[in-house]
């Protein structure tokens, strides 16, 4: 699959990673513009209006979160964060500020390309999952009827479980943080009560997953949130 010429701004200060990203992404048909400071990154963003931003959180000049804030104050350009292990809190903060996804260094090329494709698809069709009947694998959500079927059999979900599943289905393959899900399903005052969420996810898995202990739809992103995998990417 090629990148159909999408322009990617890479804000990263490690020359080795820049070189690897440039080689790989160019080979897949993306146009890559690398910059090595946050300041240059913001300049390039305003000047060039890229289709996607790859942002390293550990920049020498500006806190990466500030760049997320600045870009989100301006538009919906997808942002994928590159972070290191052990900086989980920072990563979650950047995601809650509006970054779309993340990759933990070191990461593989396949993983990177998959994330970029999902992020670009969401900008192209932001209201994915709003079709009247959402289908993936054996799972079918009939939004108009409020009915969920697994392999053709109707499954009874409680209102909370249904809302949760709808929240997942509205953003297929995209990373959704705990606090986003909580706000969406339980309301804005529940942003910090992630434990409600994990317990309901476990219940939902029991009802819709073929093997709840080895889930294929709702995948945990450790310490960050969940990803509703449809395999459409």
């Amino acid at each position: 699959m090629t990148g159909s010429g999408a322009r990617i701004l890479v804000i990263e200060d490690e020359p080795g990673i820049i070189r690897a990203l440039k080689t790989n992404l160019s080979a897949h048909g993306f146009q890559v513009e690398p910059v090595d400071t946050g300041g240059a990154g913001l300049d390039a963003y305003k000047r060039r209006r890229p289709d996607l931003i790859l942002l390293d959180l550990g920049l020498p000049d500006i806190d990466g979160k500030e760049i997320v804030r600045a870009v989100r104050g301006d538009g919906a350009t997808p942002i994928i964060i590159l972070s290191v292990r052990g900086a989980e809190r920072e990563k979650v903060e950047a995601l809650d500020l509006g970054a779309d996804d993340y990759l933990t260094k070191p990461f593989g090329v396949d993983e990177l390309l998959a994330r970029i494709r999902v992020a670009l698809r969401h900008t192209a069709a932001p209201d994915a999952g709003s079709e009247p009947v959402f289908k993936t694998g054996d799972l079918e959500i009939d939004v108009a009827q409020r009915v969920v079927r697994v392999a053709g059999m109707e499954v009874h979900l409680s209102p909370t479980e249904y809302e949760l599943l709808r929240a997942f289905a509205s953003q297929p393959d995209k990373l959704i943080t705990d606090s986003m899900l909580l706000r969406r399903v339980w309301g804005p005052e529940y942003g910090d009560e992630a434990h409600y969420l994990h317990v309901y996810v476990a219940r939902l898995r029991k009802k819709i997953e073929p093997d709840p202990q080895a889930p294929r739809y709702i995948i945990t992103e450790p310490g960050v949130g969940y990803r509703f995998v449809t395999g459409r990417g």
Binding site: S158, P159, T160, A202, Q213, T220
Partner: protein, 531 residues
């Protein structure tokens, strides 16, 4: 205070006379009823009572008074001190001598009983002090000792202070706040008296403290000092004064007697002994920490040189092969090289991750970000991720459906389970079973990774969770010796325990627990639930 002691003594003598008078009355009454020859013996009762109640002096007084009273009232001629019959003279002197001897003996008994009581109290208090000093937290221990002294001697405040001469500087106090302040003010002077002016001599060791007049800077303290005197008892360590027990009596309380002095110097001595033991213990701990740090550093160098170099060598070899111009590799061979690079890089990444975790554990900076998760999902996800690594083994997952949600940091417990599974893969032969199971056990949940390998040699068990430790006959240095140490650190940071045991027959089982929280967790539904 002295006045009360003086009046107490007078009271004893007065009572001795009163007792004699009482017996005189009784003898007179008996004489009215019948003529009793040796009624004088009744006086011995008064003498004995005086000896038991008030001691030697009042007993002698009672003897003399009895001698005079009997002579005056009952010996012919009555109402004079003259005696006509020789028999009567002998009887009178016998009364006097018997009285004095009885009084002496009884008083001695009383004194011994008093001494025994004092020794018993001393033993009980000292035993309490020793017991209280066993507390590992020194300040808490000293506070408890101070409180014990305060209660025992009915004081208003007690401060125990070890100053700059002591190997461990610490202060503890108990009692009335104002009195504590007074004691603290006195402390400066106490230190001067004890350590400054003159060098303490050997005879001062264990001696009762001296009275010291404190010159306090505040007017309020001066006002208090008009009535109070602060007393200081030295605490010695190896013959040198290192601290003191400062006592502030209650206004108008009874005097601290010689028995109390003995008790206090015994406590001071005991504190010195306890302090010495503690300081030796600390020195030993510091030496142990240094030794361990050194060992850890050596092991780290070892690990870095060996465990980092091995994957690096494969990576360099594979990359070099790919770049060779004079050989034409087939597509499969190129793929193999690339795969080797990828696998070895992943191995390096895991190693660096474990090193990072270990340094955080050693620094005590692990702060789990706990939330409620389904433990079964975690175990399955880990198994899924390690699919390639476990391909050579039969991996069995056995987690019951009804497992309650558990509170933990997902990333960290993920690491624990991964390390245990990887460990089992490394040290057991291909094709054998690895079984990961979980169950609730009382107020905790227990996760078990059981393998069917050779098991752990008994000798290796105690050190198995030490960083960089590898069981010597584990079949070559496959691991870095980090995984189990990290697992242990992370489990303990969650308030759980980790242990290892050999299975009956064949294989080893690694078990760790996580606390379950007493109240059943029930999240609120968004709206009314019907399911």
């Amino acid at each position: 205070m002295n006045r009360s002691i003086v009046s107490e003594r007078w009271f004893g003598y007065l009572c001795a006379i009163a007792l004699t008078a009482l017996v005189t009355g009784a003898v007179a009454l008996i004489r009215v009823v019948a003529d009793v020859g040796n009624a004088s013996m009744l006086y011995l009762l008064a003498v004995m009572a005086s000896a038991v109640l008030f001691g030697r002096g009042p007993a002698i007084l009672a003897s003399v008074a009895a001698f005079l009273a009997f002579n005056f009232f009952f010996v012919e001629p009555n109402y004079t001190l003259s005696v006509t019959s020789n028999d009567e003279v002998v009887a009178l002197f016998l009364l006097l001598i018997a009285g004095i001897i009885t009084g002496q003996l009884t008083a001695q008994l009383r004194q011994r009983a008093d001494e025994a009581r004092a020794r018993e109290r001393e033993a009980v208090v000292l035993y309490d002090v020793v017991r209280l000093m066993a507390d590992t937290e020194l300040e808490r221990a000293l506070t408890a000792v101070a409180e014990r002294i305060r209660v025992e001697l009915e004081l208003s405040a007690v401060v125990i202070a070890f100053g700059k001469e002591s190997p461990i500087r610490v202060q503890a106090d108990t009692g009335d706040g104002e009195a504590i302040a007074l004691a603290r003010e006195a402390m400066g002077s106490a230190e001067m008296v004890l350590g400054g002016g003159q060098a303490p001599t050997a005879t001062q060791r264990g001696q009762p403290g001296r009275w010291i007049r404190v010159v306090p800077p505040t007017a309020r303290a001066i006002a208090r000092l008009r009535n109070d005197r602060v007393r200081s008892v030295p605490v010695n360590l190896r013959g040198q004064p290192v601290g003191s027990i400062i006592l502030v009596p209650k206004p108008g309380a009874h005097k601290i007697g010689p028995a109390d002095d003995r008790l206090l110097s015994a406590i001071g001595h005991q504190l010195g002994v306890a302090l010495e033991r503690l300081s030796l213990q600390r020195e030993a701990t510091e030496a142990e920490v240094l030794r361990k740090t050194d060992e850890l550093r050596k092991a780290l160098l070892n690990a870095v040189s060996h465990d980092l170099r091995t994957p690096l060598s494969s990576i360099m070899a594979s990359a070099g092969s790919l770049r060779q111009q004079d050989v034409s590799w087939t597509e499969d061979q190129r793929g193999e090289f690339a795969e080797a690079i990828e696998n070895e890089a992943q191995r390096l990444n895991r190693l660096v991750g474990n090193l990072l975790d270990l340094s955080r554990i050693e620094a005590g900076s692990i702060r789990p970000e706990k939330s409620w998760y389904d433990l079964g999902s975690l175990i399955n996800e880990v198994a899924g991720r390690l699919h390639a690594a476990t391909a050579g083994h039969k991996l069995i997952i056995d987690v019951p459906d009804g497992l309650p949600p558990v509170l933990f940091d997902y990333v960290e417990i993920d690491q624990v389970v991964s390390n245990l599974i990887e460990n089992a893969v490394k040290y057991t032969p291909q094709g054998t079973e690895i079984c990961v199971s979980a169950r609730t056990a009382g107020d905790e949940v227990e996760v078990e990774v059981a393998d069917s390998g050779p098991g752990i040699p008994e000798g290796a068990m105690p050190r198995l969770f030490d960083a960089f430790y590898r069981a010597s006959d584990s079949g070559g240095a496959k691991g870095s010796g980090l995984g189990l140490a990290v697992a242990k650190g992370l489990v303990e940071a969650h308030g759980g325990r980790i242990r290892v045991a050999n299975r009956e027959g064949r294989g080893a089982r690694f078990l760790f627990t996580l606390p379950l929280h007493a109240t059943e967790f029930e999240p609120p539904a968004k709206t009314k639930e019907t399911a």
